[in-house]
């Protein structure tokens, strides 16, 4: 079989061993949890609780306002401390008291609309890093019969991250079940579970559950960053190419993150909203790195404490992976639905690099998965030449950061290109 991959990409050190081998633990929450009413896409959810009110785990605290918006639920039992425009803060009562749920029927007996409405009610959004797009919208393309592939993205190409891997290893049956629920919505679709070939054990585990699943296949992809990027993943698996302005559904494909599929299963089988997720806590400044099942809204400081705290004062803390994550100054922020990792490093390699002029080595061109010329685009961006930037397809940048990673002159190529891309396009993917 041909190796499934794409052109370009980089091979940063994976650094996954430490956390991949350890079973995920629960992160118990205490103190205040905060729930942002807005994630990257759409409209703010509208609060439906008031300060001082008692809520259980799973209580709806903010309702989706409009189509591109999603419900927010409390992940703990406790008292609403305050409600403002974009956050609700809940003081945990220290116990996990979940609202009882009733699921009337098995999903195979449900109508498609019923499944979709359960997913919408559960407040499910894309749970890969920096996603947050409401899943029910993704699952409602114009013509559901034209969807030929539903891909579960288990590539996890970012270094350090192992939360998807642990989910696949620990609950493979549930991922398969979740995908079956999604396939129920698309009569002509095949399911694919995409995993990079450095995670063979996950592929083997998943395959055990696919014996009686004619509609689902496990596919092993070549290990390379950014294999998990939507366009590169779709290309590797189906040969179809997506450009900016297109959605995967336009070529008959849907891509869902492992955690999202897991949440879909919980919502449809157990009637439970999205209130917890798996998060990788790693990096050399973390005492006991590992994966944690953590309640949404948990303070990142508490999550780091659950991993034993810091060994040394970190110089850099990143929400998400090291390639595309966001570095933060303030640890007092919550785990959100799309937080896949918290990384802490004792040293920040970026501030120690010595930048030189571009030496035209062409490495950025070789690695750019969008087949752009990053060095030129960065020059245009620095000069403010919007015309040249657009003419050379700068808006096709998928923000993977591979160019900055590889650049021997240590130029901030991605930063320049992405800033200009954000200025020139309203497209937010």
């Amino acid at each position: 079989m041909a190796v499934l991959t794409f052109r370009g990409g980089v091979h940063p050190p994976r650094n996954k061993k430490l956390t991949a081998s350890k079973p995920a633990k629960d992160c118990y929450t205490h103190g205040d949890l905060s729930f942002p009413l807005f994630l990257h896409h759409g409209l703010h959810a509208k609060p439906v609780v008031k300060g001082g009110e008692w809520v259980s785990a799973g209580t709806l605290i903010a309702k989706a306002d409009g189509y591109v918006s999603s419900n927010v639920h409390s992940s703990v039992a406790g008292i609403v401390k305050y409600v403002d425009f974009d956050t609700i803060v809940i003081e945990s009562a220290g116990e996990v008291h979940e609202e009882p749920r009733i699921v009337s029927r098995h999903y195979s007996e449900m109508a498609k609309e019923e499944i979709l409405s359960l997913i919408r009610e559960a407040g499910i959004v894309g749970m890969g890093g920096e996603e947050g797009y409401p899943t029910h919208i993704k699952l409602s393309p114009e013509d559901p019969d034209k969807i030929h592939y539903v891909i579960v993205n288990g590539c996890e190409c970012e270094p350090y991250l192992t939360c998807n891997f642990r989910r696949l290893i620990e609950e493979p049956d549930r991922i398969v079940e979740g995908l079956n629920i999604v396939l129920r919505l698309f009569d002509n679709a095949m399911g694919m579970i995409a995993i990079e070939d450095d995670k063979k054990s996950a592929v083997i585990k998943i395959k055990n559950y696919l014996v009686n699943e004619p509609r689902i296949r496990a596919r092993m992809l070549y290990t390379k960053y950014p294999q998990g990027a939507e366009r590169q993943l779709i290309y590797a698996l189906t040969g179809k190419k997506i450009r900016s302005g297109m959605r995967p559904a336009d070529v008959g494909v849907l891509v869902l993150n492992v955690e999202t599929v897991y949440a879909i299963r919980r919502a449809v089988m157990e009637g439970r909203p999205l209130i917890s997720r798996m998060v990788t806590v790693a990096g050399d400044a973390i005492k006991n790195p590992g994966n944690f099942r953590v309640n949404i809204g948990t303070n990142i400081r508490d999550l780091i404490d659950a991993a034993g705290g810091f060994t040394t004062p970190p110089e850099k803390v990143i929400i998400g992976g090291p390639m595309t994550g966001e570095s933060i100054l303030d640890l007092d922020r919550p785990v959100t639905k799309d937080t896949n990792a918290v990384l802490a490093f004792s040293q920040d390699p970026v501030i120690r690099v010595h930048q030189t002029n571009c030496i035209h080595c062409g490495r950025c061109m070789e690695v750019c998965p969008s087949r752009l010329i990053p060095t030129k685009l960065a020059d245009y961006a620095a000069l403010g030449r919007t015309d040249l930037f657009l003419e050379n397809d700068g808006t096709e940048c998928i923000r993977c950061g591979s160019c900055s990673y590889i650049c021997p002159a240590k130029r901030s190529l991605a930063e320049l290109i992405i800033s200009m891309k954000q200025m020139t396009s309203s497209d937010t993917e």
Partner: protein
């Protein structure tokens, strides 16, 4: 919140590859060492002195330039060292030191720094300086002394229609410029560059392929058959290998796209042969590389690639 005091933020990615400009330049310098050492062995200590003068002039002038312009220390990127080394390897072993210094100064100040420093020059500094010296000091640049006697380098022997010993060319026991005589040393250096993934195989490969085809066709017409000895002699003599592996592959002055590198390599290879077979032999590689440098923008334009999803 004392742990926050250390925290820094920056745009992603938060990790960077190990490769750096200075490491690449160091690798190029290391790859030139076999040829350098053999040059000193073959031509004596004066050759070492010439090399040191070239490197020293390049580094010192760039340092003065940086200090004068209050710029960051750009000599740390080691590109000045590489320029000095490559220029020295292209000089006859008996050139007066001051001429070498003039050449090095021309390379670093006129060709590199005045164009904006590292990465901004449009011509290969060492190749340009060699051509400059060829024109200014034609007599001394064409005077080769080998083992105490005035001698004709193999490339000139070939040009005059004579024959040369291929094995001696391969081992380097011949007259010529300091770094160009020993094919073995140059190939060892090139292998190092390939292993370290510093250079792309396309430029040297198509450089040499173009030369082989060109000389093959030439011998077909002038000697009534493909003369393998002539082809071999041209590949191993003069600055052919030095140029193909170490000068034409200079990142700054070569195309960045892969198809562009193929065109560029083949173009220079063909030019070298044109100069050698119909024009002047000594310095032909450097002149060809300079002309190649000048067509790089054109090559880049015609080989501009399409972005993902826009191919075909």
């Amino acid at each position: 919140m004392n742990e926050n005091s250390n925290l820094r933020i920056s745009f992603y990615p938060h990790i960077r590859d190990k490769a750096s400009t200075s490491r690449i330049m160091l690798d190029v310098a290391i790859s030139l060492l076999p040829a350098t050492i053999f040059g000193v062995f073959n031509f004596g200590w004066y050759a070492l002195l010439l090399i040191l003068v070239c490197v020293g002039t390049c580094v010192i002038l760039e340092l003065i330039w940086d200090l004068g312009n209050h710029k960051r220390m750009t000599i740390r990127d080691l590109s000045a060292v590489v320029t000095g080394m490559i220029l020295a390897l292209n000089l006859p072993p008996t050139l007066p030191l001051w001429m070498a210094a003039v050449g090095a100064a021309f390379a670093i100040v006129i060709v590199k720094l005045l164009f904006g420093g590292l990465g901004q020059n449009i011509m290969n500094p060492a190749a340009c300086a060699k051509c400059f010296l060829m024109i200014c000091f034609a007599t001394r640049m064409n005077m080769f002394v080998y083992q105490g006697v005035l001698s004709t380098p193999p490339i000139e022997v070939l040009r005059a229609g004579g024959t040369v010993d291929l094995l001696q060319l391969f081992l380097g026991n011949t007259s010529g410029c300091i770094g160009e005589t020993c094919a073995v040393a140059l190939i060892i250096g090139a292998i190092y560059l390939f292993i370290r993934r510093i250079i792309d195989f396309r430029i040297p490969l198509f450089f040499l392929i173009a030369a082989v085809i060109y000389i093959g066709i030439y011998s077909l017409f002038t000697r009534g058959g493909i003369d393998m000895t002539l082809i071999g002699a041209h590949l191993l003599s003069g600055g052919m290998l030095l140029g193909a592996f170490f000068m034409a592959t200079d990142y700054v002055t070569s195309p960045v796209s892969r198809p562009g590198r193929i065109i560029y390599g083949a173009f220079i290879g063909a030019l070298v042969c044109t100069f050698r077979l119909f024009g002047t032999a000594n310095g032909s590689v450097c002149f060809a590389i300079l002309l190649g440098n000048l067509v790089v923008p054109l090559i880049e334009r015609i080989t501009r690639r399409k972005s993902f999803g826009k191919e075909e």
